[in-house]
């Protein structure tokens, strides 16, 4: 997993609620058997005017000039500011892969869908939940200020604005530790292999039909 400690990044605002994973990365790109290369198709149906299919050359496609990520002022954004229930819908990890591959390191929203939220941590993409009123304020500031950046510090669990205002966020201590150190969760779990085996043996004795 990619290590995450802090990010001083340009912010892009995506002002709509319930952004689903079908919108983040449409299904035709899920046919890939690779883990990389999804960034050019992030928000494909909103970002381009033509219909995208796997294997197309993105540089030759018709860009939708009105889509927020296509505005020159948001090019190279690393922090995505979003609305409630971001990432709802399917469990496709391709959605966080596409966001990360595009260049995002942090997503800030008042709430996230459970599976998406969980998937982000597995790849070192940091989802941050802030109060809706704070998110509202950030939307106003980013829209009013070209080149608006936020400083996200995982150690301190803080998001600092250019006006030196700071918002604190919650994160599970285990997840924080894993992110800060870029730990391999499978490796960590396998350290408990004896416990898993012992649990399994007990279960096999009590409910043998589960092991047929």
């Amino acid at each position: 997993m990619k290590k995450f400690d802090f990010c001083d990044g340009l912010v892009a605002p995506l002002d709509r609620a319930n952004v689903d994973t079908d919108a983040i990365i449409p299904k035709q790109f899920l046919k890939s058997i690779k883990r990389s290369g999804f960034g050019q198709n992030l928000f494909d149906e909103w970002r381009y005017l033509d219909h995208g299919e796997p294997g197309m050359d993105a540089t030759r496609r018709k860009i939708n000039p009105d889509f927020i990520l296509n505005l020159p002022r948001y090019r190279g954004a690393q922090v995505l500011l979003a609305r409630a229930n971001f990432g709802c819908g399917s469990s496709r990890e391709h959605a966080p892969w596409a966001l990360q591959d595009y260049g995002f390191q942090v997503i800030i929203a008042p709430s996230f869908a459970d599976i998406f939220f969980n998937n982000c941590f597995k790849i070192g993409l940091l989802p941050i939940v802030l109060d809706a009123s704070n998110v509202d304020q950030l939307f106003r500031e980013v829209e009013a200020t070209e080149g608006y950046r936020l400083l996200v510090n995982l150690q301190d669990q803080s998001v600092a604005t250019p006006g030196d205002e700071s918002f604190l966020f919650d994160i599970d201590p285990f997840r924080k530790h894993s992110l800060l150190n870029g730990l391999d969760e499978i490796g960590l779990t396998l350290q408990h292999a004896d416990k898993i085996k012992a649990f399994e043996e007990k279960r096999r004795a009590a409910q043998p039909w589960l092991f047929a």
Binding site: P26, I33, E93, I123, L190, H192, I196
Partner: protein, 469 residues
């Protein structure tokens, strides 16, 4: 006193990372269902790390998302889809994983075949790289969708790192009206609590209306729990559960069956157990549901109208509604019964089981699809559902009515194969998501029950099932 969720959780705890109740917990996984779309990167990761699957007989694999629903003998024409299915075949063969291949009679949608085979059993933790894994909760399982990194984690360790969810009970009491189904209950609940209403919760569906549902109906309901934001939905074990499982290929036999049933009967919330949240719904008041927008919470009843954004004060909500109506090509205040679909899709892990096909067939029997319907298709949930339906003559009823009778798979629920809507086309669909582009770029989806989809096919517009059935 424990809720069903508490019991399921507690019986699977291997290790706790912290002594706090909301800390990360290592949870044991009994059943791992695998399909072609979310697994290739997990198998690759496993190989690169030099790891092997922890317990092969916990895994059951099937290709469902990419498979064609016509002319299987011609194989898969799209090379990227074909490669993905072949990759699954290859991984399963190399590692010795049980897989139902495309031309196996038992092949079908992963959430249909798990229960059908008895591979989903009460008390299990069931995971799959697919959000609709919540379906299996109908069997008093703790079942939820996972991402690809977690697929690899389960393959390698038989465990997952999880945080305990909060509990919600949705009690549906009373009797459903004639022609009403579990799908209408599901959409009514989502209309009430919204697509994020269940976020952070595991929902237990309870009450007399739920106990009266068949296993097919309970699966429909738990399937849609994720559309309410809840990663897991569940229903307690009763006679209906036990009778459904009796004799299924993967279900225990003989003495073990008796022993298993005795345990399964304990899988219900204790009397007086407390939930973090409760909600109740009067089944008698549920009306046929039709979605009008681009999120399952954008739903109303058949006698309703498309809402008017100008009446909404919340700005974010108003903009979302305006955007949805523009995408859907609908004017505010249009009566739902005046909306005319171009296509009809009866299928998906929500509504492609035998009972769904029977109800739809009953509606179209002796009738014909309306002139404005360009395509009406039935995609059974599995080869065995298809076979059973053919034994009952349902295929003939559908064909005579002008429907196409297809091979099993996910099909136009998410349009990863060739079955899709063209831009601007409107579909009455028994699937679970009406997101923009879900059934094809620019396609417009209205979620309904199988009976309502069948009725719309015949009438050429949405119609109240209670009036014709």
């Amino acid at each position: 006193m424990q809720t069903l969720y508490d019991k399921l959780w507690q019986s699977h705890v291997v290790h706790e990372e912290s002594d706090k109740p909301d800390g990360m917990t290592l949870l044991y996984i009994d059943r791992h269902l695998v399909h072609e779309v979310t697994s290739p990167q997990a198998f690759e990761g496993l190989k690169l790390a030099g790891r092997k699957p922890w317990r092969l007989n916990s895994i059951l694999a099937v290709a469902d998302h990419n498979v064609p629903t016509t002319r299987r003998d011609h194989g898969i024409s799209d090379p990227t889809s074909r490669l993905q299915v072949e990759t699954l075949d290859q991984n399963c063969e190399e590692l010795g994983i049980t897989e139902f291949r495309m031309n196996d009679l038992r092949q079908g949608i992963v959430h249909v075949i798990g229960p059908e085979q008895g591979a989903t059993l009460p008390g299990m933790t069931v995971v799959c790289g697919d959000s609709h894994t919540s379906t299996h909760g109908a069997f008093a399982c703790l079942a939820f969708g996972i991402g690809t990194s977690e697929v690899e984690h389960v393959l390698a360790t038989q465990c997952l790192l999880m945080k305990r969810a909060k509990t919600m009970q949705v009690a549906v009491e009373g009797e459903l009206g004639h022609g009403l189904t579990a799908k209408d209950i599901a959409l009514a609940i989502i209309g009430e609590i919204g697509t994020a209403g269940g976020t952070g919760y595991a929902i237990e569906f309870a009450g007399s209306a739920i106990r009266a549902l068949s296993m097919e109906g309970r699966m429909t309901l738990c399937n849609m729990a994720i559309e309410a934001g809840a990663r897991a939905g569940m229903v307690a074990v009763d006679d209906t559960t036990v009778e459904y499982l009796r004799g299924r290929p993967f279900a225990p036999k003989g003495d073990l069956w008796e022993k298993a049933v005795a345990y399964w009967r304990t899988l219900k919330s204790d009397e007086g157990a407390s939930f973090d949240k409760t909600l109740s719904l009067d089944a008698a008041k549920v009306k046929p549901q039709v979605t009008w927008g681009t999120s399952p919470e954008m739903v109303t009843t058949i006698d309703g109208r498309v809402p008017d954004p100008s009446q909404i004060t919340d700005i974010v909500k108003r903009h979302d509604m305006e955007r949805a109506l523009k995408y859907m090509g609908l004017a505010p205040n249009t009566p739902i019964s005046e909306i005319r679909p171009d296509k009809i899709f009866i299928g998906s892990c929500t509504n492609a089981r035998i009972e769904d096909l029977r109800t739809a067939a009953e509606v179209v029997k002796g009738r014909h699809i309306a002139a404005n319907i360009k395509l009406a298709m039935v995609v059974p949930g599995s080869g065995l559902v298809k076979y059973q339906a053919e034994q009952e003559g349902l295929d003939k009823i559908f064909r005579d009515a002008g429907f196409e009778w297809r091979e099993p798979g996910c099909s136009m629920c998410l349009a990863m194969n060739d079955d899709r809507l063209e831009s601007g086309e409107r579909c009455a669909s028994t699937s679970n998501r009406n997101f923009e582009g879900r059934q094809g770029p620019g396609g417009r989806t209205h979620l309904v029950s199988p009976a309502m989809a069948a009725a719309a096919a015949v009438a050429g517009h949405f119609v109240d099932i209670r009036e014709i059935y």
